[in-house]
């Protein structure tokens, strides 16, 4: 059985929660304990928290790893991971940067954004994935005979709350070798705060590509006015990409995280990157496609054309 490794991300000296989910994922692949890998500079505390989840932790510490530049991290991983291993990542902007190239350098197979593990038989790992923005799912057979790099969608596995591990940390920094690379990290820029703060709203009227036309955004604004205090208009990414609304109104992994009392998703398909920004509240989905993935996660669904339906709802609320 292949040895399983889990690459753990951390920020500001704190291990990301995804570590607990990867611990569960690792158990779905192998009954032998997985090894966590913590890379960075001055990461003893992070490695110690990893050791409370995993029995074995590899620490690699180097000034060049102060910021997780994917190209540098990849070199570090190639230096410490034996060929033929299964390497788990949490699917994120970091894994998208690092994992595909790592699989090539390790001579391993690669599978991204998996949403389930069905099991391992011999050298075959069977996983579940989604395609076309979550409209369809597939069972995928991954050949792990030469190892594999596997990125797991956040939220797929329950956090491993065992917390029993009193793991040992092995320092492999001496094995790193040359970490120089042709991509240099400069800085991280944070977005400027906008005039609207959708994170404070109690009711979000959120519009997606289904709004069809820039001028139809008015329909959402009118509903917001009718509801009044506590209501705000937010949106999915394509609306920001089209510059129909400001980036500060975008909900999702690359936008804002919101927790309104009610989230009214209008013409939004329900991609995981969008839903990843909704951390609570009652979700109402209005979509013209009865098979839209969002109906699987919403509390209440309405099959309707939002361009026709929103004015009806606005009218009702205005006449209260």
């Amino acid at each position: 059985m292949a040895q399983v490794f889990a690459y753990l991300t951390h920020s500001n000296g704190v291990l990301d929660d995804a570590a607990l989910e990867l611990a569960t994922a690792a158990k779905a692949i192998s009954s032998s304990p997985a090894t966590a890998i913590v890379a960075g500079h001055g990461v003893d505390a992070v490695a110690a928290s990893a050791a409370s989840i995993f029995e074995k932790v590899i620490k690699v510490d180097h000034a060049a790893l102060s910021y997780p530049n994917a190209e540098v991290v990849r070199k570090a991983l190639v230096a410490v991971i034996p060929q033929g291993s299964v390497v788990l990542f949490a699917h994120s902007t970091f894994s998208m940067d690092c994992a595909p190239g790592l699989s090539i350098k390790l001579g391993a197979s690669f599978v991204a954004d998996i949403v389930g593990i069905e099991g391992v038989e011999g050298s075959s790992l069977k996983v579940v994935r989604q395609e076309l923005g979550g409209e369809v799912s597939t069972h995928v057979d991954v050949d792990i005979s030469a190892g594999s790099v596997v990125a797991v969608r956040p939220g797929t596995f329950a956090p491993d709350e065992g917390k029993g591990a009193q793991g040992s940390v092995t320092d492999r920094s001496a094995d790193l070798g040359d970490l120089s690379c042709e991509r240099k990290f400069i800085e991280v820029q944070t977005p400027e705060a906008g005039d609207v703060d959708i994170t404070k709203a109690e009711i979000l009227i959120s519009i997606g590509r289904g709004i069809e036309d820039e001028e139809n955004i008015q329909l959402a604004m009118e509903l917001k006015e009718a509801i009044g205090k506590g209501a705000e208009v937010s949106c999915s990414r394509p609306i920001v990409d089209a510059k129909w609304l400001e980036a500060t109104r975008q909900v999702g992994t690359s936008g804002c995280t919101v927790k309104p009392k009610v989230y009214l998703a209008c013409g939004i398909s329900g991609s995981f990157q969008h839903m990843g920004g909704i951390k609570g509240g009652y979700i109402v989905a209005i979509n013209k496609n009865p098979n839209a993935p969002i109906f699987q996660v919403a509390d209440v669904g309405v099959v309707a054309n939002i361009v026709e339906f929103l004015p009806v709802l606005t009218e009702k609320i205005a006449s209260l």
């Binding site: 991204a112 042709e182 400069i186 944070t190 009711i203 990409d241 510059k243």
Partner: protein, 262 residues
């Protein structure tokens, strides 16, 4: 700057409702509406804008069957000078690594300073760009939403979580995967398409590309799809039925019970 942009023809999620085929091993593809992968349009636009600033030319390439001719022409109508179709029976059934392998063959046929891909395509892998870069031993940055051309290098912004942007300097030649929103892809009209209708698009197979057929296609694939299915609906949403008026009344009640309006 000589720029190669990798593009893929994908089913258009806005135009289709997906159903299983009768064998249950794939979606019914016969009547699907296809278009260029959304991310690839941004990549082509970015390449064109770079060339408009510093000179050079843009080549668009796809590994696909001959049906993909239409998307190559669409991107050429945007302003890409050359198109390249990588087509061979041996390529059918390739996984992401196989596709990267085929594209590597095409890179070897040219002299490119910059190679762009989309951040991800219909299968949501986001893999081909990073694999191609690693195979070519070129530096790579993913999810790029800003590019500034410098001397022998680029300053690129990568989109990371929470709307933040990670700035990097990367030496040329390199591979970047492009994120949506980086620019506003130009509109392509029927007239533009007509203009490039008769431009010759070379088609290259495994032999011309110097590709070992055992690395590509279904045989070379370590990742194989077994079937397609529509996920079993879990608890799922309670679906409201009735006329628009009746549904709106129910929603008003829901808004009242769950907070916000009185």
């Amino acid at each position: 700057m000589e720029i190669l942009v990798c593009v893929k023809r994908v089913p258009d999620t806005a135009e289709n409702e997906f159903v299983m085929n009768s064998a249950g091993n794939d979606i019914e593809r016969d009547d699907l509406v296809y278009s260029v992968n959304e991310w690839d349009n941004y990549a082509v636009e970015e390449a064109i804008q770079i060339v408009e600033k510093v000179g050079g030319s843009v080549t668009v390439v796809t590994a696909a069957d001959a049906d993909a001719d239409e998307i190559l022409r669409r991107e050429m109508a945007m302003g890409a000078e050359n198109g390249l179709l990588l087509n061979d029976d041996a390529f059918v059934g390739s996984d992401c690594k196989g596709i990267a392998h085929i594209l590597k063959g095409a890179v070897g046929k040219g002299n490119y300073d910059l190679i762009l891909t989309g951040a991800q395509a219909d299968e949501g892998s986001g893999a081909v760009g990073g694999m191609l870069a690693a195979m070519l031993d070129l530096p790579y940055a993913s999810l790029v939403n800003r590019v500034e051309v410098g001397d022998g290098k680029l300053t690129v912004g990568r989109e990371i979580e929470g709307g933040r942007r990670e700035i990097n300097e990367i030496t040329l030649p390199c591979v970047l995967s492009i994120q949506t929103g980086i620019n506003e892809p130009r509109y392509v009209g029927v007239r533009g398409i007509r203009k490039v209708a008769s431009v010759e698009i070379p088609a290259l197979g495994a032999a011309e590309l110097g590709i070992d057929a055992s690395c590509v296609g279904a045989k070379g694939a370590a990742v194989r799809k077994l079937d397609y299915f529509v996920p079993v609906k879990g608890a799922g949403a309670e679906m409201l039925a009735g006329s628009a008026e009746e549904i709106a009344d129910k929603l008003v009640e829901i808004l009242k019970t769950n907070g916000g309006i009185s």
